[in-house]
């Protein structure tokens, strides 16, 4: 059994993140971004000042060199506030470069992220919805990349795309670093369910990619990324679910019907306790999984997949109860619950939903 490591430095980081987000990232701001259709970039600039964007990038390349748990702390708080800036996408993008690139590639690309605030985002989902290493259909032939990637987080504001592709018709999957400005790159906006995290389609029409821009990772290194992505996304989702619980509890404690606060009715109270149980379980899994990855423990992948599976179910459940228990108000645009509901739905398929991971978990428990 892994030991959950959570020290004073983690608590301090959490408190700092809470303070900053409470002050600078209100729901009014989120609504403005959702309605304008784009983030003005000021939050992202501020987060770079705070060093959040390079938190987990090794110190050799100018980052803070901190671990999974530190990032999970920030992401949990970000999820609570529906952070619209591309923190999770960039932490993930940097992780891909760090774990898959050569020293020269790391120095070059991570340097761009750390010092120039470049947004590097993972473009790994195929038009079919397949997103695993095996599902890759984008091809490189004669040094030219062709194909499409959909559901790319922050596609419109990204500077660098990390694009898994196959060499020729049957080669192993590798990752190309493609600048948004390269010839043959077209970025199409998607009209997404979730207006707080924009995504788009990346169309690659014979984009020239030199070998120096192909990360040198093996397939195994690509597989190693999944548990990390699962934990970070699950942390963000845990924060969102927890925010919903607080919001709905506060409403149920004050909204009066039949002469009593609706939270005194067990038909409302008991499902909220079920949300509480889910959220608390989820936080235990997230921090256990983050500690396991940092400690390179053998159960890291199992715990990470469990965290993402549970997050997928718990966040949607928390959001559905939030909308429902806000009653008629919950059905309106004025109530904040729907923003979380949309984020919950948008987060569910990313890096595998509950059923997807449970298949792997069952295999792990029972065998083939």
């Amino acid at each position: 059994m892994v030991s959950i490591r959570y020290e004073d430095e983690h608590a301090l980081l959490r408190d700092e993140a809470r303070r900053w987000l409470a002050e600078h990232h209100s729901m009014e701001y989120v609504r403005r971004v959702a309605e304008d259709g784009r983030d003005d970039g000021t939050t992202w600039a501020a987060l770079q000042q705070l060093g959040w964007h390079s938190l987990t990038i090794p110190t050799t390349f100018g980052g803070a060199g901190l671990g999974m748990t530190h990032a999970a702390v920030l992401l949990e708080e970000s999820g609570r506030h529906l952070l619209t800036a591309p923190l999770l996408p960039v932490l993930l993008g940097a992780l891909v470069i760090e774990r898959c690139g050569s020293d020269e590639q790391r120095a070059r690309f991570l340097g761009e992220v750390v010092r120039k605030g470049r947004i590097a985002t993972l473009a790994h989902v195929e038009p079919s919805g397949g997103w695993t290493v095996e599902a890759t259909s984008v091809r490189r032939e004669n040094g030219r990349l062709r194909g499409e990637k959909w559901y790319v987080w922050n596609a419109q504001s990204a500077d660098l795309f990390l694009v898994p592709f196959r060499e020729g018709s049957n080669g192993a999957t590798q990752v190309a670093v493609v600048p948004a400005t390269a010839d043959g790159v077209e970025i199409q906006a998607e009209t997404g369910l979730d207006p707080t995290r924009r995504s788009g389609r990346l169309v690659l029409r014979d984009v020239s990619v030199a070998d120096a821009d192909v990360l040198t990772a093996s397939v195994n290194q690509l597989h190693d990324l999944l548990p990390r992505a699962c934990v970070w996304l699950a942390a963000e989702m845990a924060g969102g679910a927890d925010a919903l619980l607080s919001m709905t509890t506060a409403y149920a404690a004050t909204r009066v019907q039949f002469g009593r606060p609706i939270g005194s009715f067990q038909a409302v109270k008991h499902p909220l306790v079920n949300v509480l149980i889910g959220v608390e379980q989820l936080r235990s899994l997230v921090y256990a999984a983050a500690s396991a990855i940092d400690a390179e423990a053998p159960e890291a992948e199992l715990l990470a997949r469990m965290a993402k599976a549970h997050a997928s179910d718990v966040y949607v459940f928390a959001a559905s109860r939030a909308v429902q228990f806000h009653g008629g108000f919950g059905f309106t645009y004025d109530c904040d619950a729907h923003f979380y509901l949309k984020r919950a739905h948008a987060s569910r398929p990313a890096f595998g939903d509950g059923a997807y991971h449970r298949q792997w978990i069952a295999q792990h428990l029972v065998g083939a």
């Binding site: 030991s3 149920a252 606060p261 909220l272 306790v273 379980q281 069952a362 428990l365």
Partner: protein, 399 residues
């Protein structure tokens, strides 16, 4: 405090001892938990097992050495619990003493009470039962009517307690009785360490739906007990009862007894390899696999929640959530899992204990029926959801 405690070495030592000292299975059916100790031979077998474990240094090991424990650091008992569950050895008979009476006495008892009651409790020389519920006071415990009247240096008890596990064997009962009939509800209740082997007490068996014994009602008729049977102050009983139940509902880490859902799940998966449906192994069925994975996720979540509860900074937002939800969630997981185990057996799941063709001697059916004892006893799941909603989420009280 033992400065040199090495958890890994201790675990191995415990594992080795259990392997070498596991009792031979008796020629009678053993109960699955302390809720179903019906016969004298079951009782003596289990008492002997706890004595042996205590003598070897595996009972009450985090409890203070001056009262018969070993003062080992926090976490040591969890290792013993896990190893006992892993080895699937019998449970500790004096579970009520270990989980409820003992921790309450340690926290609220006088020095004399601690010295008098704790050592024989650990050694299973004195067995404890609990007298909280009454026919008219179940979930609404504060409506209890049993009276404790002062008479000179004694208290005189009259009343009726129900669902008294181990009542027919117990030497002492943690008893809630009303010392002040004028005061409404909570304020008039006091908490007693009541001797059971005294005149005026009648213990009558109740039969559970499994037809197992071990469940009783206890009638008190003019029962005299000395003044020092009172724990804490007169009128403090409700506060102490809440403390007792909180030990049971999760903080009972360190008391011993009981395997978690993890061991149950692992054991069931191992056994389910023998089950098939329409000639195909049930474990090949993707629906079955999905359900098993869901159980595994919940089980791991609870296992790590126990650990997270020890990290103050990670529970600062809601310090009481994890301890208060533990019994609720564990008991519901165990109920759903044992139900699933019945379902997966198909027709075999309809056989009962004693049928030679029953799968695992119908252990899973018995576990399922007995699981209701845990979702009802010690605070029903419904009451616990009220408590979590009110104390942790701060929602207004339900009427």
């Amino acid at each position: 405090m033992n400065e040199t405690f090495d958890p890994d070495a201790f675990r191995l030592q415990c594992r080795g001892w259990l392997a070498a000292n596991r009792p031979a299975p008796p020629d009678f059916v053993l109960p699955q938990s302390m809720l179903a100790v019906g016969t004298r031979e079951q009782f003596e077998f289990l008492r002997e097992w706890q004595r042996k474990l205590y003598a070897a240094g595996y009972v009450g090991i985090e409890w203070p050495a001056e009262y018969g424990g070993r003062s080992l650091p926090s976490g040591a008992q969890r290792i013993v619990d896990q190893e006992m569950a892993r080895a699937n050895v019998p449970f500790l008979l004096n579970a009520i003493g270990l989980a409820w009476a003992g921790p309450t006495i340690l926290r609220y008892g006088s020095e004399a009470q601690k010295r008098r009651y704790i050592p024989p409790l650990l050694a299973a020389d004195e067995i404890w039962c609990q007298g909280f519920s009454e026919p008219e006071a179940g979930s609404d415990l504060a409506s209890l009517r049993t009276r404790a009247r002062r008479d000179g240096d004694d208290y005189v008890i009259d009343g009726h307690k129900v669902w008294t596990t181990l009542g027919h064997f117990a030497d002492f009962m943690i008893l809630l009785a009303r010392t002040d009939p004028e005061t409404e509800r909570h304020a008039g209740i006091s908490y007693f360490l009541a001797p059971m082997k005294v005149p005026g007490i009648s213990v009558q068996p109740l039969v559970k739906m499994t037809r197992e014994g071990g469940f009783n009602q206890v009638l008190f008729s003019g029962v005299r007990m000395p003044r020092d049977a009172l724990l804490g102050q007169e009128g403090q009983g409700w506060e102490l009862a809440v403390a007792t139940l909180s030990f049971e509902r999760g903080a009972s880490e360190g008391s011993g007894g009981g395997g978690g859902a993890g061991e149950l799940l692992a054991r069931f998966i191992a056994r389910a390899r023998d089950l098939s449906r329409d000639g195909r192994p049930v474990l090949d069925d993707p629906v079955v696999r999905d359900r098993l994975a869901s159980f595994a996720i919940e089980e791991q979540a609870m296992r790590y929640s126990v650990q997270r509860a020890q990290v103050p900074a990670l529970v600062a937002d809601r310090p009481f959530a994890l301890p208060l939800m533990r019994k609720l969630v564990q008991s519901e997981i165990a109920q759903r899992l044992s139900d699933f185990a019945c379902e997966l057996q198909g027709y075999a799941g309809t056989l009962w204990v004693g049928d030679p063709r029953a799968f695992d001697d119908a252990e899973w059916q018995r576990l399922y029926l007995n699981s209701y004892g845990v979702t009802i006893g010690g605070g029903t799941s419904e009451i616990l959801r009220n408590i979590l909603g009110e104390r942790v989420l701060g929602l207004p009280k339900s009427k």
